[in-house]
Amino acid sequence: MLDIKNVEKTFNPGTINEKKALNGINLHLDEGDFVTVIGGNGAGKSTMLNMVAGVYPVDCGNIVIDGFDVTRLPEYKRAKYLGRVFQDPMTGTAADMQIEENLALAARRGKTRLLRVGITAKERKEYKELLKILDLGLEERLTAKVGLLSGGQRQALTLLMATLKKPKVLLLDEHTAALDPKTAKKVLDITEEIVQKNNLTTIMITHNMADAIRVGNRLIMMNNGKIIFDVSGEEKKKLTVADLLEKFKISAGEELNNDRILLS
């Protein structure tokens, strides 16, 4: 479903701030794969997702989604294939627009926007039903401005928006990191539910090792712009946090350095 082939990316090349963010990444995802990604600060996790999403151009290599080479497509055209949730709850929604307007924007991802009505009465009913699933009371607040919602509510809404039109790949960039533990758990539960129900191919970056092990069918660990550990299936299920830290030490030759990492 997704192929990342030999992708390299260097930021600020030729300057004192030169940073090799991706150092020849190769990754293949089958349909329905749910991959969790862990790694230290500056390992290239977010850069990898941004490369897939087309936020920056790649230096070399290819990104192929479901057989389409999207390497040269701009971000807004790739959006047709991708659902994205960001770390910052402010990023994924338009605060000045209503809940239903945000959903209607998402429902038209990948379609040409012409002079048809921006949101139909039929859609409103559908959104109400969909929001009920989140169980956050948003179904009664369809016309409320998204800016009035809490961070957790906004992330849940963004998640719904990202999956409203089934994406080929769902990209989650530490989407629970900015939330308090209870809300983070709730948003992660909703994530698992939505991914499972739609059989979505998903990449989730997380700083929570326990979550990385528990959620999904595959786990990759990154360091210095490379994938240093890739495990799936039964082997992944048997992992412990201690195993992961040990693996990291062996592969990277240093202690895992991530100021947000959670061992619990």
């Binding site: 999403a53 971000e75 807004y76 055209k77 959006a79 047709k80 991708l82 994205r84 960001f86 402010m90 990023t91 994924g92 929604t93 338009a94 605060a95 000045d96 627009m97 307007e101 209607a104 924007l105 998402a106 038209r108 991802r109 990948g110 379609k111 926007r113 012409l114 002079l115 048809r116 009505v117 921006g118 949101i119 928006m161 990202a162």
Partner: protein, 310 residues
């Protein structure tokens, strides 16, 4: 008493001017509020509208067709600014200034001289300040009033369409818009075009209203447009939530602005100080939300009982 009499006499004229500038202010609202871009093209495109309309009218064109051409000319000026910004990476304020400057030359070329009168006695016009007291359809209060209502209706419809929603989303959150497949560059150009189209349309009205087109007609227009937007929001912001009503509040803000201006002139203010006064008013209104936030932030820390310098 005499002053009050003078003011009442001047009222129809103030409201007419307010209505015309209100259309211009709606254009400013689209860039400044919807698209979140401060576009200074308007100082040039406002004059472009007047210049184009007057030249076409003098050449015997149909009046409404001339207005349409002024609108299209405005769209083009907006397209230039939009492309300078999106294709060439020039910051929007600077892009607007560049277009505005170049429009000064272009307007001179279109008009052939610095100003050109259109005499309502010799030429048929849509509006004229001579008619502000007449009880007839061609009274600018009625003509421009109807046009304002129609324009607000069209804009309300447009911003409810898929394209209009995409434009609003672009102004609200660029990252989110791109993630939802919205071509943000296209929408920025579209928004700036639409804005300047309306501004030029208003310029075409004003040139007819005052009976001449002038290449300096748009000088400081952005400040008046912003003043209208800000005054409208300050007075009606709490009660007008609907998008159409918010556009209406901008027009009402423009009318209030012109009534205030007329009042201070009647009270004896030197008319040469008018632009200074406008700039001061806009600066104060722009500062108020910032001051409010600062004040609140200070009080929040105090209420929590923390030390001031902690």
């Amino acid at each position: 008493m005499e002053i009050l009499q003078q003011l009442l006499n001047a009222l129809p004229g103030s409201i007419s001017q307010g209505l015309i500038w209100g259309i211009m202010a709606i254009g400013v609202y689209i860039t400044y509020r919807v698209l979140d871009v401060a576009d200074l093209t308007v100082d040039g495109s406002f004059a472009t509208g007047g210049v184009v309309a007057v030249i076409l009218i003098l050449n015997g064109w149909n009046l409404w067709l001339s207005m349409l051409m002024a609108f299209i000319a405005g769209l083009l000026t907006g397209a230039i600014t939009g492309l300078l910004h999106t294709l060439m990476g020039i910051p929007p304020i600077l892009a607007g200034i560049l277009t505005q400057l170049s429009l000064y030359s272009i307007n001179l070329k279109i008009l052939g001289k610095a100003n050109q009168s259109v005499n309502v006695n010799q030429t048929d016009l849509l509006v004229s300040l001579r008619w502000v007291r007449e009880l007839a359809f061609h009274n600018p209060l009625i003509t421009v009033g109807i046009v304002v209502v129609i324009l607000i209706g069209i804009l309300y419809w447009f911003f409810g369409t898929e394209m209009g929603c995409g434009l609003r989303a672009t102004g609200a959150n660029l990252n989110m818009s791109r993630a939802q497949g919205i071509n943000t560059s296209f929408n920025k150009v579209l928004g700036i075009m639409l804005s300047n189209g309306l501004v030029a349309f208003a310029g075409a009205f004003l040139a007819q209203y005052q009976g001449f087109a002038d290449v300096k007609q748009g000088q400081g227009a952005i400040v008046i447009g912003l003043a209208a937007v800000i005054i409208g929001e300050a007075i009606f912001g709490k009660i007008f939530k609907n998008f159409a009503l918010r556009l209406l509040s901008v027009v009402l803000g423009s009318i209030v602005y012109y009534i205030v201006v007329q009042t201070v002139i009647t009270l004896g203010l030197d008319a040469n100080l008018l632009k200074l006064l406008s700039a001061v008013i806009v600066a104060i209104f722009l500062a108020i939300p910032y001051w409010k936030r600062e004040y609140k932030a200070k009080h929040m820390t105090k209420n929590k009982g923390g030390k001031v310098n902690a």
